[in-house]
Structures are given as structure tokens and as C-alpha cells.
């Protein structure tokens, strides 16, 4: 009976945003089946690898780590989209982010499991995974990773769920014609949310508090991921810039992924009003900054290596610039930096098509970037780099598993958007009853951000 009283802040876009939830179409089902089949192929490939041994991959000595580790770094990087947009921009008080927070957070949530899976797939004896807990030693950067990523996954789930809560309650109350199990799911997941002002108030406070924690975590996680490489003394990996560089790359590819996802959602679910084009323009500005930051890091890293001219470092350096990895290195530079920057600056404004093109290129390029960071170093080991020249060619097993990981990510995303509103309705509502209360709370917690943020809001309101 309490449900009658539940308050839902009025939102003009409510009908459009809830429309995709009202029924699963045949097209959806076909897509799901195709993705499931791809995922199944990946599972089969992995079982084959598990039974026979990692010999079925192209990895060897000295290239002990290959595509799987590349995927790991890439997926964790992709995950940084959501937390960056919803946590860091939340703290900065950038109000424009609101309609796209959930779409971005969902990328975080759904790519993290595939990052974790990549590590397990890469292990020689995955059934001994628990040894990491039983005998875990904190000297090992791999355990730092393990801890950071699990914490990240856990807090992302909580953060995501909390901000979803009022909208689940909305689904519970509005979607009365959907199948019984679905209504039951909403009822259970809504945890009896009533939308009282103090509930909104409390929710905002929790989200603000968590945003601080999540922002710290986002920085830690990807830095720690890079330290798996950076903490060794291998040439090309052992640099102090590797942490910030990985982090920037992660946020860059994550934010680009948000552009892709937004465009698809807009088109497929007809969300033109809920996801206005100005969102793309705001993201465009961020992306320009990130691509410039990326080239800055590139130059900082490679120029100091080149100038220092240490023999073993130069082996790796030339391997990338003119050696076996030259094609992929230069292609990566063009895909991540040259073309996207030109598009962002000259074509991106008000053009979703161009923005998506650039974002896709950035993500392909970022995957290649991870590859180029990891593999060339291994092909020129420190001792006897003259003799022990490594080479690496991934096998179809590795490619199948890689494709299936991406299929899995898309599948989770596609299914999710059919059952939950992908645009946060309560956050984008014209007014919450608790609006003024909420602002006060934010100001208390994050004084500077609130003031700074209001300035940011006006500027980005184009």
C-alpha cells in the first residue's frame, strides 16, 4: 500500500525512456542469440585451451604475455568511462553529464568482468585461482591488481545499483503490463523505495561520498594495472610515466566508448530528446583534451628514451618505431591521435556520425596501443637481446576468445537496456522535491566543487 504514495519526480522524457522496456522485439532476440553464439564459441575455445594447455596460443618464450593481457588492460581501460563520467564529473559538478551517467556506468560494470576473465583465461592453471587468496603475497603487483580490480568491481556494482534505485521503483510502478517475473524483479530490486525527500537527500549524499572514493579508485586501478609491467625492470616497461599514461589512455578510450554507446542508444531506442546532441559536444571537448594529453605522454616517454640512448631500451624503441611492430605502432598513432583529433576539431561539432567514427578509431587504436606497449618489450629481452629475438603471432584460439569477450560485453549491455532505463530519469528530472536540500548537502561535502561546478555548468550549457 505504501506504493501508492511513492513520489516520482516528473520527467518529460519518461515515456520515451521507458518505451524500450515495454517489450523485447524479435530483433533483440536475434541479436542476443548471435552474441550468445559468439560467447559460446569463446567458451568452447577456452575449454579447448584449458584441456590442452596454453600451447594452443601463439605465446612462447620470451613473449610470455600476449593478446590476453592486452585484452585485460583494454577492458579495464574501457571500464574507466563510467566512473570518470559519473564520479569525477559528479564531483566537479558538471551537470551536463546527468543524462549519460548510467549509459557510461553500465560500460564500467559490464566490461570489468571481462577484464577479470582475461586474467583468468591467461593463467596456466586457472583452477588454482584461490591460491591468490590462500597464499597471496602483497609484494606482487599482481596481487595489487587483484585487490584493486575486485574492489573496483564491487564498488561499481554498489554505486550503479544505488543510482538505479529510484528508477527501478519507477519501473515497478509504471510498467504494469510487463510479464510477472519482470514485475517481481522490479519489486524486489526496488527495496521498497518510496521517493520521500529525505530518501533522495540521503541517496545524493551517499552518491557524493562514494563519488570521492570512486574517483580515487579509478586512478588507483589503472595505475596499478600498469604497474604489473612498470614494476619489472624490463626495457620499455620500467618507466615512471607508465602509470599516468595508462590512466589517460583508459579514460580516453572509455570516454570514446561512451560516444559510441550514446549514438547507438539514441538511434535504436529513439532517445533523441533524452540524449540531446549537446552531450556529444561536451564529450567532444573532453576528447580533444584527452587526445592532446595522449600525444604529450607519447612524446614525453619516447623522447626521453631516445635521448638517453640506453642500449637495451633502444632495442625496444626501434622495434616499435622501425622494427617488427612499426606498422602497428604508426597505425596506432594515426588511429588514436591524428585522425580523431582532426575529426574532433574540424568535423565533430554537432555531428554524431563523425564523432562515432572518431570514437571507434580511438578504441581500435587504444587496443593496438596496449598491444604495442606489451609485446615489443618481450621480443627484446634485456639479456642477449641480440640472440633471443622473440616473435609472436596470436592463434585463432586467442582471436576467438577475444571476439567472444567483446560479444559478451555487448550482450550484457543489450540485455540490460531492455530491462532498465538507460537514461537516469530521476537525475534528469526537472526538479526533485529535495533539490534545494540536496544542493546544500553537496555544498557541505564538497564546497569547492559545488561552486566550481556551477561555473562549469554555465559554460558547458551549449
Amino acid at each position: 500500500m505504501r506504493r501508492e504514495k511513492t513520489f516520482h519526480p516528473p520527467n518529460d522524457n519518461e515515456a520515451t525512456v521507458l518505451a524500450p522496456l515495454r517489450g523485447v522485439t524479435v530483433r533483440d532476440q536475434t541479436l542476443w542469440i548471435v552474441l550468445l553464439a559468439l560467447l559460446g564459441m569463446g567458451v568452447a575455445a577456452w575449454v579447448y585451451q584449458f584441456v590442452n594447455g596454453l600451447g594452443v596460443t601463439g605465446m612462447n618464450r620470451p613473449v610470455y604475455w600476449g593478446v590476453y593481457l592486452t585484452n585485460f588492460v583494454f577492458f579495464i581501460g574501457l571500464a574507466h568511462s563510467g566512473t570518470f563520467i559519473s564520479a569525477i564529473l559528479r564531483l566537479a559538478g558538471a551537470e551536463w553529464r546527468k543524462p549519460l551517467t548510467r549509459a557510461a556506468e553500465a560500460i564500467t560494470l559490464f566490461s570489468l568482468p571481462f577484464g577479470v576473465a582475461s586474467i583468468i583465461i591467461d593463467m596456466g592453471r586457472p583452477e588454482r585461482l584461490l591460491n591468490m587468496i590462500i597464499y597471496g603475497r602483497f609484494q606482487s603487483p599482481l596481487l595489487w591488481d587483484f585487490t584493486a580490480v575486485s574492489l573496483y568491481l564491487f564498488s561499481s556494482v554498489v554505486f550503479f545499483y544505488l543510482s538505479l534505485l529510484p528508477d527501478i521503483a519507477l519501473c515497478r510502478d509504471r510498467l504494469t503490463e510487463v510479464p510477472r517475473w519482470q514485475r517481481k524483479m522490479y519489486r524486489i530490486l526496488a527495496l521498497g523505495w518510496e521517493g520521500r525527500p529525505e530518501q533522495y537527500h540521503r541517496l545524493e549524499r551517499v552518491l557524493d561520498g562514494m563519488a570521492i572514493f570512486m574517483s580515487l579508485l579509478v586512478i588507483t586501478v589503472h595505475t596499478v594495472v600498469s604497474w604489473v609491467f612498470g614494476m619489472t625492470i624490463q626495457p620499455g616497461w620500467h618507466t615512471t610515466i607508465i602509470g599516468p599514461f595508462f590512466l589517460l589512455g583508459a579514460i580516453f578510450s572509455g570516454t570514446s566508448a561512451v560516444v559510441i554507446v550514446l549514438a547507438i542508444l539514441r538511434r535504436v531506442y529513439d532517445l533523441k530528446d533524452a540524449l540531446p546532441i549537446r552531450l556529444f559536444n561536451s564529450l567532444r571537448k573532453l576528447l580533444i583534451v584527452f587526445s592532446l594529453g595522449w600525444i604529450y605522454m607519447m612524446i614525453a616517454e619516447y623522447l626521453s628514451v631516445f635521448y638517453g640512448n640506453i642500449p637495451e631500451e633502444m632495442e625496444v624503441f626501434w622495434q616499435k618505431l622501425t622494427g617488427d611492430y612499426a606498422v602497428i605502432f604508426w597505425l596506432m598513432t594515426i588511429l588514436v591521435f591524428v585522425i580523431p583529433l582532426l575529426i574532433f576539431i574540424f568535423r565533430g561539432k554537432d555531428s554524431i556520425g563523425w564523432m562515432v567514427t572518431a570514437a571507434v578509431l580511438v578504441n581500435i587504436g587504444m587496443w593496438m596501443e596496449r598491444y604495442v606497449v606489451i609485446i615489443p618489450t618481450e621480443t627484446r629481452p634485456r639479456l642477449l637481446y641480440e640472440l633471443l629475438r622473440g616473435a609472436y603471432a596470436p592463434t585463432w584460439i586467442e582471436w576467438t576468445i577475444t571476439v567472444s569477450l567483446f560479444a559478451g560485453l555487448i550482450l550484457l549491455y543489450a540485455v540490460f537496456t531492455r530491462f532498465f532505463p538507460i537514461v537516469p530519469l530521476w537525475e534528469t528530472a526537472e526538479s526533485l522535491e529535495a533539490e534545494s536540500e540536496m544542493d546544500k548537502a553537496r555544498e557541505r561535502i564538497f564546497k569547492f566543487g559545488a561552486k566550481f561546478g556551477s561555473g562549469f555548468k554555465q559554460k558547458s550549457g551549449d
Partner: protein
């Protein structure tokens, strides 16, 4: 407590690769097919490399140079630092050990070792017809512990252990004979077999041992000294 160390005199090494073969037979290293070997999956705990000729001015040195390379048993081993489960660790006597029963096969140690001495079992180990009847039955095993020549499962890392099982056997023999164990009762198989008598083994902490005397030699050097790993496998320069 002894601190085990090996000295290799490159002047005496004839590059016969006897050490490689002795090591293989002693430690049951799996045999890989030529195709796998071409991929770089050959397993030789103790490898012998030809070195590139050095150029002095316009003249290239005519003398071929070789380097034989077991594990360095670094005093500050980068491989041990990165292992998340302590499957590889350094014991009190300075030997860097490898526990096949615990290793999760993450291959972090293999990328961290600057000397490339760690080998991963890409497949379950296999031997050619007939060879499997000559496997060394020795092993070091205990509760959750499997080391030395014991047959490894697939997906774990292995490496030179300074023939740790020989040390265990020597200790057990001394105990059975109710006398004190002497450090000169134990040498690894490669040292025992070395054609040129180029290899020496012993206690680096004992000032009278051959290895500690040779380590003082002006010809003594260590591989990648700049890497800060402090190897206990020490080389003597040619000439």
C-alpha cells in the same frame, strides 16, 4: 648455513653443451617437437648460447664466444618479488626454488627475470618413445610442495634449481650415516659432468671454498650487474 654459488670459467668452457644435456636428464625437462622449438618453446634450464663477435675497430674478433647460462640464483631476485603466491621463493641457503604444486601459471616471473631462465609448460610434458623409461625418479615433495625433477603438470613454470634434490639427498645420507653434512658433498649435475671442468660449486660464505676464492678473481664478473640482482652464478672472463 652455506650460501650456494656457482662459478663458471669461460676460459675453460669448450661449449660442448654437456651441461645442458646432463641437466635435461637429471631434471626431466620435457622434450618439445622441432615445430614447437621453432616457436621458442624449447626448454633448457641450462642453455649454451653463441655470442656475437665483438668488433675492435675494423676487425671482427675471429674467436667464437659462448655463454652457458643456468639460473643466476640472484640474491635479490626479481622473479621472487613478483610471484603472487610464493610459488617461487628464496630459501635460507640462497637457492631460488620453484614449487610446481602452487604455481598458478601467471608467468609474471618469466617476464620479470631479466635473464630469461624461466620456462613455462605450454603443454603437459612429454618424452620421446623410450626416453620416459629413463626419467629420474628423484623429487622434492611434501605437503603442497613439488619441486626438482618431479614431473610437472602443464601450465606451471620451471627453472634451474641448482639440483635441489641432490642437496636433499646429500643431507639425508649424512643424517643416515649420523655425521655432519659437509658443503662439498653436493654439486649439481652440470658441475659434475662439465667436460672442461669449467664449473665450480660450493659455499660462498666459506672463505676457503673454491667458489669464494674464484669470486675474488680479477676475471670474475656477473651477468647484468647493472640490473641490481646480485647473481650468485658468477663468471670468469676469458683471457
Amino acid at each position: 648455513m652455506p650460501k650456494w654459488s656457482m662459478v663458471i670459467d669461460l676460459d675453460k668452457c669448450v661449449a660442448c653443451q654437456g651441461c645442458s644435456i646432463a641437466c635435461r636428464m637429471e631434471n626431466n625437462t620435457p622434450v618439445v617437437s622441432p615445430a614447437e622449438s621453432a616457436l621458442g618453446r624449447l626448454m633448457l634450464w641450462n642453455d649454451v648460447f653463441p655470442l656475437q663477435a665483438e668488433e675492435h675497430g675494423a676487425i671482427a674478433s675471429a674467436q667464437a664466444k659462448f655463454l652457458t647460462r643456468p639460473c643466476m640464483h640472484c640474491e635479490d631476485p626479481p622473479c621472487v618479488k613478483v610471484c603472487p603466491v610464493e610459488a617461487t621463493y628464496q630459501d635460507e641457503e640462497g637457492i631460488v626454488r620453484q614449487n610446481y604444486a602452487r604455481c598458478i601459471g601467471c608467468r609474471f616471473c618469466t617476464v620479470a627475470c631479466p635473464y630469461g631462465v624461466r620456462y613455462f609448460n605450454w603443454y603437459a610434458p612429454a618424452w620421446d618413445e623410450g626416453l620416459e623409461r629413463h626419467l629420474n625418479p628423484d623429487r622434492v615433495s611434501g605437503d603442497g610442495d613439488l619441486e626438482g625433477p618431479a614431473i610437472r603438470p602443464k601450465g606451471v613454470v620451471e627453472k634451474c634449481t641448482y639440483c635441489i634434490h641432490r642437496l636433499h639427498k646429500a643431507r639425508e645420507r649424512a643424517a643416515a650415516e649420523e655425521r655432519e653434512f659437509r658443503p662439498d658433498e653436493y654439486v649439481p649435475a652440470c658441475v659434475q659432468t662439465c667436460t672442461g671442468k669449467a664449473r665450480f660449486f660450493g659455499d660462498l660464505d666459506d672463505p676457503n671454498s673454491t667458489v669464494s676464492q674464484l669470486a675474488q678473481s680479477r676475471r670474475a664478473f656477473r651477468l647484468l650487474e647493472e640490473a641490481g640482482t646480485h647473481p650468485k652464478t658468477i663468471y670468469l672472463h676469458e683471457g
